[in-house]
């Protein structure tokens, strides 16, 4: 479970600054913002543009290109469910669809109590223990309905 800080320009500046002089520092800076705030909100754009000496459009372009960078923080827990082929071969797709339906969620959405966000992911390298997921960075393998329900229940 992650505790994210509320957005703070000054803190964000401190996080970004060390990466400004590093080779190709934008992605590490974005990751560092995600780790602190759970998101890269719009407020980060002018800050990043200024510090990296890029246009705001360029920064927006980078943020929107990568699936990882969210504009609003996720729920208290994040379940990344694998949708790729090896997990499909073990009926992961049905498992995922049923879970989303039971929770009344779409991919990327958060439960109304703010407990859980379910994100799609395309392979976790856990294809030998499919179907697989990461729950708050803890790997989960050979998922079935019962195990998935237990994991979800524990987050709420």
């Amino acid at each position: 479970m992650h505790e994210y800080s509320a957005w703070d320009d000054e803190r964000a500046g401190e996080i970004i600054t060390p990466w400004c002089t590093a080779e190709g520092g934008t992605l590490p800076a974005l990751h560092a913002l995600m780790a602190e705030f759970g998101a890269v909100p719009d407020a980060a754009v002018p800050l990043l543009a200024q510090q990296f000496n890029l246009s705001r459009a360029e920064i927006r372009g980078i943020i929107s290109f990568y699936h990882d960078f969210r504009r609003t923080p996720p729920g208290r827990h994040v379940l990344k469910l694998c949708r790729a082929e090896a997990c499909q071969s073990m009926h992961g797709a049905t498992l995922a669809e049923n879970l989303l339906a039971r929770l009344g969620l779409t991919w990327g959405a958060t439960t109304t109590d703010g407990a859980l966000t379910i994100e799609p992911v395309y392979c976790l390298g856990l294809c030998a223990v499919a179907p697989a997921a990461l729950l708050d960075e803890v790997p989960q393998g050979r998922l079935d309905v019962a195990r998935l329900d237990r994991l979800v229940a524990a987050t709420r």
């Binding site: 290109f65 960078f69 090896a86 071969s89 073990m90 395309y122 976790l124 390298g125 856990l126």
Partner: protein, 519 residues
Amino acid sequence: MSARVFLPIDAGALALGADDVAAALAAHARARGIALEIVRTGARGLYWLEPLLEVARPEGRIAYGPVSAADVPALFESGFLDGAAHPLRVGRPEEIPFLTRQTRLTFARCGIVDPASAADYEALGGWRGLTRALALGAAASIEEVVASGLRGRGGAGFPTGIKWRTAAAAQADRKYIVCNADEGDSGTFADRMIMEGDPFVLIEGMLIAGYAVGASKGYIYTRSEYPHAIAAMNRALAAARAGGFLGANIQGSGFSFDLEVRVGAGAYVCGEETALLDSLEGKRGVVRAKPPLPAIQGLFGRPTVINNVISLASVPTILAEGAKHYQGLGYGRSRGTMPIQLAGNIRYPGLFEAAFGVTLGELVNEIGGGTATGRPVRAVQVGGPLGAYFPPALFDTPFDYEAFAARDGLIGHGGVVVFDDTVDMAAQARFAMEFCAIESCGKCTPCRIGSTRGVEVITRIQQGVDVEKNLALVTDLCETMKFGSLCALGGFTPYPVISALTHFREDFTRATARQAAAE
């Protein structure tokens, strides 16, 4: 009493509860007054046996698996620390048939060595490749890699030594070594296993590459989906630096080199080498047109060797044992060994490193034991999401770059994903198009627009709408994507689609057949 056990920290083992087992072992040992050392290794790659617990005995290691936390009290009761009998005892791991059939060169230490200890790496034969490279000199080291016949294990199969020669010949103020650890292909996990289980072998391979071509800095670009591999790599880099294997004047050789891990952000296309370089430069991961080759103008416009994890991790054994040894194994123009990954619906999933030439049928049926569900095998996707689906009728295909190409397939990074007879191949074809649409970098129209069109058209086929006309349309679309795309994402997505259409046509006409029956 004191004892030493080994338990994987590999993400696949963690996914099956290895940390719970570790906690239970520690608690029970404490309660029994046993000084128990738990060494967290990588995985040997026998995932049906994970978590695989091994006990150090004078006669060698004795393994028990698959162990759950609930099994731990009974294991202590039966005296597993003495290697005693227990229903989960599998005996000496080296004697498990899945391992005895393999030729482990690149994965020789994985699952055995302590991935956090540079000393353990050295004790198990590490750094010998680097030592020999330094003795041979840069040019001769490159020729050794050329002579080994090693081809890139990331998918394209380009000769590694030739790439190094090009970068070595290029003149520049600085050069880079970039390790492509983006491993995005479904069904693959060899890179992850190496990073988590034997990270020093990758460091050693990158050091040899850096020395050979005259680079001073290297990056390991991996994926955010691999948090455990990232942590393991960073731990190993710190240990290597502390041990004088990274930094200035490495081991007194006069050669200086440093390494850094960089993390992607969930974009499959960033595994493509030029998109990866743009991403490393901090930009959108858009594919570059070639030429210029990265070996001449790569990262920040400098000569750059970009190689897959397994390509680089195979270099130490090539240098240590000599090119001949490696080159002597293999099939046709595919030399050496390939870490094949058996995944999906398969009874014995795991890592199978073997000389090229083993057939797909042997891999799936004999070594892999058929499906996990016990149903008949219907389709096997080889080489990730851009790889073709093979029916059992093609199981005599040997694992070899050219043999797979001759049958309109590819071996890619060596992933083998098995499906049983419940698979709907029209759905798989549709997913291939959907994946391409989600991951397209957007540079070329056939890939960006064609894939979205492909999803629509296959959906219509699944609904039984104008099936013959739409099948012709998909085939056309695939032709356009194949020839009008800049990189293999758009260019190879037709492989899974066309192979599904060719070998499993009945799945595309099912809706029509149903309609006809209803009329």
